[in-house]
Symmetry: C3
Subunit: 347 residues, 3 copies
Amino acid sequence: MEFKAQSIAEFLNGTVEGDANVTVSNVAKIEEGKPGTLAFLSNPKYTKYIYETEASIVIVSNDFQAEKEINTTLIRVDDPYKAFASLLDLYQMAKGTKQGIENPSFIDPTATIGEGIYLGAFAYIGKNVKIGNNVKIYPQAYIGDNTIIGDNTTIFAGVKIYEDTRIGMGCILHAGSVIGSDGFGFVPTEDGTYKKIPQVGNVVLEDFVEIGANTTVDCATMGSTIIHKGAKIDNLIQIAHNCEVGENTVMAALTGLAGSTKVGKNCKFGGHVGVAGHLTIGDNVTLGAMSGVTNNVKDDKTMLGAPAMDISHAAKVMVVYRNLPQLRDQIITLQKEVAQLKGQQSN
Amino acid sequence: MEFKAQSIAEFLNGTVEGDANVTVSNVAKIEEGKPGTLAFLSNPKYTKYIYETEASIVIVSNDFQAEKEINTTLIRVDDPYKAFASLLDLYQMAKGTKQGIENPSFIDPTATIGEGIYLGAFAYIGKNVKIGNNVKIYPQAYIGDNTIIGDNTTIFAGVKIYEDTRIGMGCILHAGSVIGSDGFGFVPTEDGTYKKIPQVGNVVLEDFVEIGANTTVDCATMGSTIIHKGAKIDNLIQIAHNCEVGENTVMAALTGLAGSTKVGKNCKFGGHVGVAGHLTIGDNVTLGAMSGVTNNVKDDKTMLGAPAMDISHAAKVMVVYRNLPQLRDQIITLQKEVAQLKGQQSN
Amino acid sequence: MEFKAQSIAEFLNGTVEGDANVTVSNVAKIEEGKPGTLAFLSNPKYTKYIYETEASIVIVSNDFQAEKEINTTLIRVDDPYKAFASLLDLYQMAKGTKQGIENPSFIDPTATIGEGIYLGAFAYIGKNVKIGNNVKIYPQAYIGDNTIIGDNTTIFAGVKIYEDTRIGMGCILHAGSVIGSDGFGFVPTEDGTYKKIPQVGNVVLEDFVEIGANTTVDCATMGSTIIHKGAKIDNLIQIAHNCEVGENTVMAALTGLAGSTKVGKNCKFGGHVGVAGHLTIGDNVTLGAMSGVTNNVKDDKTMLGAPAMDISHAAKVMVVYRNLPQLRDQIITLQKEVAQLKGQQSN
C-alpha cells in the first residue's frame, strides 16, 4: 500500500510543506528513515535528524522552525506523536484483518461461534466451546473443551488453551502461549516419590489482557488463576496456579510468580523478576529487573535486588557492594593501626 | 456433573450431617467456597472459615466439634484431606477421558499404536514410532521418527518431540514442551564463525516423569539426556544436552541446567535456578530460588544465593549484605576515631 | 545403518588395527562406549578409558601408543577429533533428509516455493510467502504472510513466524520458537489503563542464524529487530523489539534483552543474563551467567554479576561478599578495641 503526502495531510488535518505527491509505504524512526518511509519529530532531542533523514515525509509540529535546509516533505500538525499514532492505527486497519474459516480446521459440533470470526487452518475448537464475535483464532491454535472467549479477542498461531478457561473481550494471546496447564502440585509420599494432586481449577483472563509469546499461565488447583482486566504480560513468563495479577499490571519477560501469590493493580515488574509463593504484592508496586521477592510488599513501594529491598536502600547497598574490596582493605588498615596503637600503649 | 451429599458420603464411608440431598458440581477451598461447591477442613488454622463458608458441603473430621451454628452440610470422615484427595481423583476420572482418533491426523504407516489411545486432530506420528496402550496425544502434538512412548502417558496439545526420543510409562508432557531439540554445540573457527556440531544423541524420559508447559529438553550430543523416574519438571525450564536429572527430583519454573550437568535423586530446586555445565549435584540437594551454582554440590546440602553458598552461611551473608551502608558508616567512624587516637598519641 | 571398521577407515584415510569387519551403528563418548558404538580419543585426559571402553571401534591418533592391552578395534588417523566430526556429518547426511509435501498442509495460492523442499503435514504457508530451495518446514509450523525464507533453512515443528519476517539462508529455527510477536509497547493513559502501540516493524534473521527451542524474538515497533549473520541463540531466550544481535554472537538459555538494545559481534552471553533496554554492548563482550547489565559495555570487556562489573573486579567483590559475616565480626572487634583505647587515653 502506498499513501500520498496530500492524503495523509488531509486525514490528519495538517498542511503539506514540500512535494504533496510523494508517496510512502512504510514507517520509520526519524534517525533510521529511508526513501518511501514516513517518520515523525516530536522530542526536540531528535531535531538534528530532520536535516539528514532520508524519510520521504516527516510529521512535525506547527511550531517547528527549521534552522537549515530540509530535503524531506513535511506535514505540519498540532501534535506530531498523536498524529503518528493515529496513522499507525490506520495502517494496521488498512492491512485488512483476517476473516473466514480456513480448511481443514476442527470445530466440535457442540461449539458455538460468533459472527465475523477468523479461524485459521489446523485450529482446534473443543466441546462446548463458546466463541464471541469478531474473534480471530490463528492457525494451529488449540481451544480446549468448555472454554469461553469474548468478543474481539485475538488468539495467535499455536496458542494452547486447556479446558474450562474463561477469556474476556479484547484480549490478545501471542503465539505459543499456554493457558491452563496443570499447576505444579505434588504430595511427597513415604517412598520418596510424588503423588500428583489433581488440578481441577481453571484460568480466567479478564477483558483487554495481553499475554506474550510462549508465556505459561497454570490453572488453579481449585478455583481460578486470574489475570485481571487490562494486565499486560510479556513473553516467557510463568504465572503459577492460583495466582492473581491485578488490573493494568505490566510484567516484563522471563518473570515468574510462584503458586498462590496475589499481585495488586497498576504494578510494574521488570524482567527476570521472581516472586515466591503465597505472597501479597500491593497496588502500584514497582519491582526492578531481576528482583527476588520473598516477603509481602505494601502498596506504592519500589523494590530492587535479590532479596528485594526498598529501592533507596538497595541503591545504597549496591554502591557499598561494588566497593567491597576497598572496604576490606580499609578494615585491614584499621586493624594494623589499632594493633600499633595498642602496642604503643602497652609500651 | 452433579453429586449428592448422600452419594459422596457413601463413597467415602462417611456420615452426612445436614441436607443429604444437596448437590455440588465443583470443588473449592473452604475460604473461597460458593454454593454448589464441595470443600474440606483439615488444617485447624482454617476452622474459622467453616462458620462463614458458602460451600454447600464441607468434609470434616469425625472429631470436629462445632462451636457455632453451621449452615453448610457436613460429611464426617476419618481423614478429611485424604477423603478430599480421593474425591478429586474420582472427579478427574468422572470427567471422562478422551479416546479415539480424530480427523485429520497424520500417522505414518510404519508407526504402531496401542489400545485405547486418544489421538487428537492435527497430531503427527512419524516413521517407526511405537505408542503404548492408553496413551493420550492431544491435538497438534508432533512425535518425531523412531520415538517410543510407554503406556498411560499423556502428551498435551502442541508438544514437539524430536526423533529417537524414549518416553516411559505414566509420563505427562504439558502443552508446548519441546523434547529433543539440538544441544547448543558449536566449535569456533578461525574466521570467528561457528561450526555446528551434529547432535546425534537423544532424550530419555523414564516412567512417571512430568514435564511442564513450554519446557525444553535438548538431546545429547552423543548418548542420552536422561530425566529419571518420577522427576517433576515445571514450566519454562531448560535442560541442556547430556544432562541427567535424578529420580524424584523436582524443579520449579524458569530454572536452567547447562550442558552435561548431573543432578541426583530427590533434589528440590526453586525457581530461576541456574546450574553451570559439567557439574555434579548430589542426592537430596535443595537449591533456593535464584541460586547460581558454579561448583559441584554434595549430597544433602541446602544452598542459596548466586554464587550459591550453604544456606546457613548464605543467611548470615545476606543479613550483613542488607546492612552494608551501616557497615560502611561504622568503618568511617572507626577511621576518624583511629586518626584521632593517633593524633593524640603523637602529641 | 551399520558401518564396518574397514569402510570407515577408508573414508577417513586411516588404518585399521584389530577386526576390520566389526560393525557399529551409533557413536558414543569413549567413557560411555558400548558394543556397536564408535568413539574417539583426542584429549590425553581420556586415554585411560581406551583400556576399558566397550566401544567396538575407537578412532585414535597415528601417534597413539598403547601402554596396556586394548580390546577394541582402532582406526588410526592424523586428527581423531576432526575425523570423528566428519563422520558425524556423514552420519547426519546418511540418515537421509526429509523431502516432499505431506498432506494435509496449507499453502496459500499466492505463495512461491523452491525446489527440493520438505513441507510437513499441518504446516501453514501464508499469502505471498517466498520459500527458497531445499528448505525444510516441519509439521505444524506457521509461516505468516509476506515472509521470505532463504535456501537451505530448516524450520522445525511448531515454529511460529509472524508476517513480514525475513529469514536468510542456512538458518535453523528449533521447535516452538516464535519470531515476530508484538513488541511489548504500551502507552499509559490517564485512567491507569494502557493503550497498545501498533507494532508495525518486523524481524530479520540473517544467514546461518540458529534460534533455540521456545525462544521468542519480537518484531520492531517500526523498522526491524535484527539477528545478524551466524549468531546462535539458545533455548527460552527473549529478544525484545528493535534489538540487534551482532554477527557470530552466542547466547545461552533463559537470557533476555530488553527493547532497542544493540549487541555487537562475537559476544558470548552465559545463561540467565538480563540486559536492560536501549543499551549498546560492544564487540567481543563476554557476560557471565546471571549477569544483569544496566549500562553500555565497551568492546572486549568480560563482565559478571548483577549489576554487572568487570570480571576482575567482580571476582574480588564476590570473595569479600562470601566473607561478609567475618568482615562484620572484624569491625565489631575493632569497635571494642578502639573503645578500649579511647577509654585508656581518657584515663
